[in-house]
């Protein structure tokens, strides 16, 4: 593919994905998976999981971060910035437009009904995503990830501990284990 064509494709795909980002940024993961992994085979499922983890561990909007990482992987640094622009533009244009006629928009029963329906669709898509991703984690030989996943879920959902606290905690645990293992390994 010509490089300008690839850039244009990347911009279009991110613009398109972003237009459908209802119900939180996570919905972007199955969309990137469908287009980049399953249709175009630009990277693997394992790489997607890695990107999702990085996007989530970085500050800012997960949807934008993930688009940028996928863009970087497909088309270098230029791809990253093209993706960022494509991912931000739809919500930017829509919000800029709506901020002037907000009241008329808010009271539209048709829009409300569509959104209420979409909530259930988003829930189903995310449930499927979690099922597939968890299966990938539990297939690994390492035991630690098998513990981290459910514990993180319970801490975040039941105890409502902030994501940042949990991520920092697991970083410390992981580094601590590495230090201990390294101490052991050096003697062997």
């Amino acid at each position: 593919m010509h490089s300008w064509k690839k850039g244009l494709w990347l911009f279009g795909v991110n613009f398109y994905i972003s237009m459908f980002t209802f119900g939180g940024g996570y919905i972007v993961i199955p969309m990137i998976r469908k287009i980049f992994v399953q249709q175009k085979q630009l990277f693997t499922e394992a790489e997607l999981l890695e990107m999702a983890a990085i996007a989530q561990s970085s500050p800012g909007a997960i949807a934008v971060n993930l688009s940028v990482l996928a863009g970087r992987r497909t088309f270098g640094i230029a791809g990253a910035w093209i993706s960022a622009f494509g991912a931000v533009l739809p919500s930017f244009l829509i919000l800029a437009l709506i901020s002037s006629c907000y009241d008329a928009f808010r009271t539209q029963p048709l829009i409300n009904a569509c959104l209420k329906g979409m909530e259930a669709g988003v829930a189903a898509l995310i449930v499927q995503l979690v099922a597939d991703m968890s299966a990938a984690i539990f297939r690994q030989k390492q035991k630690l990830p098998h513990v981290i996943l459910p514990v993180t879920f319970l801490c975040a959902f039941v105890l409502e501990i902030p994501a940042m606290t949990l991520l920092l905690f697991w970083c410390c645990v992981s580094l601590g284990i590495s230090v201990i293992q390294h101490g052991k390994g050096s003697r062997v």
């Binding site: 980002t21 909007a61 898509l125 984690i137």
Partner: protein, 185 residues
């Protein structure tokens, strides 16, 4: 000009400190845009949240565009939105670079594996919250639940279409929006 710079810097700060995304960032935005700067009233802030739920895109991006537009037109909206996403873009690119560079280091590899499973755990928690909102109308299990049978039916139909007929995310969203019109209008 100073207002535009102020918008950029404030949303840069909001972007930098909002790890975990979504509703975790709300108190921070409220603090900065309602309390520290007299940019929005509390009512306007609540309105933006409703608006964000009705329009595509990340909440923080939507809020920054709305606030920037209100205060300083297109230039303000661009400054606020750019500031909001910049830190995330740069830091995630740097992290990706770091992990690629140190692929062979055991400690780094282990850290990435740890973050991966924690990330799936967080997505699972968010899925649970989304289910609560869609089927019970509340965002926390601590609140009173109001079970919505038609939403449950829609949820099951969507799940079956994904599993059996392998429908992609876009068709599912469009079909569930249409079904929403049918059920709720």
């Amino acid at each position: 000009m100073s207002l535009i710079l102020d918008l950029f810097l404030t949303f840069l700060k909001i972007g930098l400190f909002s790890i975990g995304g979504g509703y975790a960032t709300l108190p921070l935005i409220q603090q900065q845009a309602v309390v520290v700067h007299p940019w929005l009233t509390l009512q306007e802030f609540t309105d933006i949240i409703t608006l964000s739920q009705m329009t595509p895109g990340p909440l923080a991006v939507n809020t920054s565009t709305f606030v920037g537009m209100r205060l300083a037109g297109m230039a303000g909206a661009a400054a606020a939105t750019g500031g909001c996403v910049l830190c995330g873009i740069v830091i995630s690119l740097a992290l990706q670079h770091f992990f690629r560079r140190n692929q062979n280091q055991r400690a780094v590899l282990q850290l990435l594996e740890t973050l991966k499973s924690a990330s799936v755990g967080l997505i699972a928690a968010s899925a649970a919250t989304i289910i609560m909102i869609a089927l019970f109308g509340v965002s926390s299990w601590k609140q009173t639940l109001h079970f919505n049978p038609s939403a449950f039916l829609l949820f099951l139909l969507a799940l079956i279409s994904i599993q059996k007929w392998k429908l992609g995310p876009m068709p599912i969203l469009i079909l569930s929006a249409l079904a929403g019109c049918f059920f709720y209008l």
